[in-house]
């Protein structure tokens, strides 16, 4: 589904990704771990098409197409979703209105019929239940005045409504207390399916206690330096990032 090869990317003239390679198949959950400054968030931003991230070499192929050539909205319509590390507050834009506009914009591009407000409301109610989000959140402006936990849950709720094929969670666990973390994890687990893949970017392994990954990769200095199964995360938890990848060649096989 996703094939990243030798990806090099710069931010403000500084090279952050230095030859990152990674393959993700349908239905797999991959965790990307690594120390601060390793390039974890840059990876998420490059994949979702944010301005200011310049790809200088390498390629990203998603379902056979060149992902990097697509505008952010086209990537979304193709099924790529980024749960933001810092969800943006947008005062004045109603959460429900926004989400319906987003879903219908995607459906239109895919040649599917748009949902009317009744159909949309029905869908939203189903997903709310899964996410244990109160109705009240829907009537507020997008993320405006939300607590940290509400913002992250709102990201997962949006993911549940938009039903992406590839979900990139950028430090979705950061800043959450244990209850909020469990709720987020529950939301993610509910969306796991043989067609859907996840890329979970995280600094800590505690999210992985609740969302168990198929693969764990260590990102350091812009490259994947070690890959393994979930036991790698536990090893990291015990020993930290010091020494990781030194005895291994760069690159990942997943």
């Amino acid at each position: 589904m996703l094939k990243i090869e030798n990806l090099h990317a710069r931010v403000e003239g500084r090279e952050i990704l230095k030859g990152l390679s990674l393959s993700v198949n349908a239905g797999e959950v991959h965790a990307i771990m690594g120390p601060n400054g390793a390039g974890k968030s840059t990876l998420g931003n490059v994949l979702s098409g944010r301005d200011g991230y310049e790809v200088t070499a390498g390629s990203v192929t998603y379902n056979g197409i060149d992902l990097l050539s697509l505008a952010p909205e086209a990537r979304a319509a193709a099924g790529v979703f980024l749960a933001f590390q810092y969800p943006v507050e947008i005062p004045g834009v109603n959460n429900t209105y926004f989400l319906r506009a987003a879903l219908n914009a995607q459906r239109k591009v895919r040649g599917e019929s748009e949902l009317d407000s009744m159909q949309f409301l029905k869908l939203v109610r189903e997903k709310l239940k899964v996410m244990q989000i109160s109705d009240e959140l829907l009537h507020r402006a997008v993320n405006a005045g939300f607590s940290g936990g509400e913002k992250k849950r709102n990201e997962i709720f949006q993911m549940a409504v938009l039903q992406p094929q590839l979900a990139i969670l950028d430090e979705t666990d950061s800043g959450l207390d244990i209850d909020a973390l469990k709720q987020v994890a529950q939301g993610v687990n509910a969306l796991r399916s043989p067609e859907r893949s996840f890329l979970m970017i995280t600094h800590y392994q505690r999210l992985l206690d609740y969302v168990v990954p198929d693969f764990v990769h260590v990102l350091a200095d812009g490259r994947i330096v070690e890959s393994g199964d979930k036991s790698l995360a536990l090893k990291l938890e015990e020993h930290g990032y010091v020494g990781i990848g030194e005895s291994h060649p760069a690159g990942a096989t997943a």
Partner: protein
Amino acid sequence: MNQPVSLPLVASLLDAPLPASGVTWLNTARRENRESFAAGGLPDTRMEAWKYTPLRALGQRQFASGDVAAGARVVDPSILALPGVDGPRLVFVNGVFRADLSLLESLPAGLTLQPLSQALQGDAQPLRFALSRHYREVGDAFARINAANAVDGVVLRVAASTQLAMPVQLVFVGAAAEADLAWHARNVIELGDGAGLTLIEQHVASGEQAHLATLVSDIEVREGARLQHVVLQGAAIDASLVRRSSLRLHARARVGLHVLELGGALVRHDIEAELIGDDAWLDTRGVFMPHGRQHIDTQLAIRHQALNTVSSSNWRGVASDRARGVFRGAIVVAPGADGSDASLSNKNLLLSPGAEIDTKPELEIYADEVKAAHGATVGQLDERALFYLRSRGIALAPARALLTTAFCRAVLDDLPDETLREHLAALLIAHLPIAADQSS
């Protein structure tokens, strides 16, 4: 050194004969204001109040005075209608009252609503205070020409303690004509003690034209009266429109003003509000949204003159292409207006590199125990918010439209009438330079 009459605009406006009336004091006022206009001409950008609105191009144009054919101009009634509004209506076409387009049958008790031309045929004395004013400043050039040349307008009175359930609509239509016209309207509005009124003032276009219109409105809000005033300015894209609205708020009067400035090539609106009675309360909100080469200038001047008076103002500007917006918000808390509370905010968005907005909040306080806050910003759409919307599948153009609408909507949020609120919001969206349904 200054020879105003040599300006084509001034000469053409002075070319028309002074309107005659059987009222001596009115004839005197017209003559005096006309003489002042002839002597003073137009203000230039050296005057602070006109610094950002040059009149050089307008000064070179000529306008025919009045519209003798106004009574026969065909106007599509649908441009007058507002959803959910079905009350009394007074309509003027190129400054001339049109009974056939107005709705004046079975007016509710306590409401006087008639064209000025008719009111002057009866007892003109109640109008004397408003209509005998002599404007002293060159900056008042358009008020002078209005005072000299206006023959029609609105006379509206709500009797004391009368609460009108239905909004009253005042519609000023600029209609296509054989020549560029100068037309004028003079409005005198008064709410008696404890009266209540919702007033909707519309400026609409019937066909393309490049007329010059001046409107001067005096609005007196007596003790404990409540006025909800909505102004919807959708003049023709080539029209020039210069308005002055003067409000006086007596003790415990409450006025809510909502202004949408969308149309016109050269638009200027002076709003002067005086809070002259204790505990008077004023809330002004507006959006100005010039695009193309439009120039829209709002000059808001609020004067607190009594104890515990409150004013809050929240204005938003959105400029695109090569358009220019101007906003000046000047608040004075006069000596003796102790315990007053004044706040003013003007936030602006520039959607194109060639667009410009000049904003200037001013605050002068001469009283004690005053709460005051003011601020102004000019910025661009939040790139992070744009990316957030796009990352969810919303294309760039609709994402920009969505954020721009959200930026403006804060101004409408407190309008009590939901149908009207949604209608105004829809007008805003339709006016956006970036269509919401564009897909790339």
